[in-house]
Symmetry: C2
Subunit: 243 residues, 2 copies
């Protein structure tokens, strides 16, 4: 835990924060905090700062927060993913969260197994801890928004209003344009679409391109979805740094 | 399984191959092969090609191999890693293998927990299946060489002869040179050093720099070792493509 993440419900009337769950347990057992100690902390969807331990009563820790004036910027990449198998999704969520992602849109495509939509991991109470894990790892306070909408065409139909200003890229092994040659202005948000194992079918790539996506390739290696997402996000970040 | 990986011990006297383990099980139960069917295959540390099912006797499949003239090039990136915790190593091995890695050198640094060196995963019979998993995923035939040498100074002392021609990079959050600005000739091999959770200590970074490494930074986010390795390898691959 590189950042203690505080949530609105932890806040008490007097402005202090109180926690008594696994976060408190970690602070007591791993960090061994005592009153007066400081830890790096952040407020969910808000600024970061320093938390000072005011008091400890058994497993309950009371903290005061000194906040930085500005919250970290919202991550400027969003993902549109063919719903991966639960095992992949479980690995992927904390990793892409740690890299910084604004919204993760999960959808169905031709090669997605329908059974994946029954995964318990799709319930917020089950996947949110994985998002928190990534945020606390990378010291981020922005909680990625996870949405599930099965029809790809519906997702694409709703894109214009929300994603007008995004550079839209779809990773497709058969594309001819290498990502390495794409110019990405530093501040421009990106919407990245990644297909299922086996890839998007041609019709879906066409639908995406009709909706403003450009097909790019990252190379010949066929990667698992979680490896592909991390690789692509890292490469996009690097391209932005170069601009 | 995107590539059936055949090993020397599968080869029979008449030049055909016979398998009767989980690979055969996968071919029978998932792919549903019958005699005459072709599957994409490769020979360990050798060329790829097409395997044709000659016969099936219960769970045993006999195959003939038609090989391409040239084996895929050896991956031109090697890793020097502070031994990660077993849970991270288990995730990391198939992922970096799928991205293509020649050698993975595991070593001890100040912030590595000594107990990690007792991990059963360090035994070849335990980690080799994870390497095969990455190879079969990405259709690669080169088996990464995994070595464990505890003393970092010994690893570094032995570097010159083996890694003279490598560009040596060490990922260090406090470095001032961004990886995005490094020029990487396409054919030049890279040796990438990645520290433990909490990073290398200054003395170790100095040792690495004395051994010819350049310290680079990939940004502010503190990532898990497995996410950092995949990100850095993907970024290095992209920089090479740009040269």
């Amino acid at each position: 835990m590189n950042l203690l993440l505080l949530r609105p419900e932890d806040r008490q009337e007097d402005g202090s924060y109180a926690i008594c769950d696994t976060r408190a347990q970690h602070m007591l057992e791993v960090l061994g905090v005592t009153p007066g100690d400081h830890v790096r902390a952040g407020v969910l969807d808000g600024p970061r700062g320093t938390a000072t331990v005011l008091g400890i009563e058994e497993a309950r820790i009371t903290l005061s927060m000194s906040l930085e004036p500005q919250a970290p910027a919202r991550p400027n990449i969003d993902l549109l993913l063919a719903l991966p198998r639960p095992r992949s999704l479980k690995k992927l969520l904390p990793e892409v969260t740690a890299l910084g992602v604004g919204r993760i849109m999960l959808t169905e495509t031709y090669r997605v197994e329908k059974a994946f939509f029954g995964a318990t991991l799709l319930r917020p109470e089950n996947h949110r801890p994985l998002l928190y894990e990534g945020m606390m790892q990378a010291k981020l306070t922005h909680l990625p928004e996870v949405t599930v909408q099965r029809k790809l065409w519906q997702v694409l139909k709703q894109l214009p209003e929300r994603f007008d200003d995004h550079i839209k890229l779809v990773a497709h092994p058969e594309a001819t344009a290498p990502l390495a040659q794409v110019r990405l202005p530093r501040k421009k948000p990106v919407l990245l679409a990644v297909g299922p194992e086996g890839g998007f079918i041609d019709k879906e790539v066409q639908q995406l391109c009709d909706a403003g996506f450009s097909a790019i390739t990252m190379g010949d290696n066929i990667l698992r979805v979680e490896t592909a997402c991390v690789s692509l996000m890292a490469q996009i970040d690097l391209l932005r740094q170069q601009s």
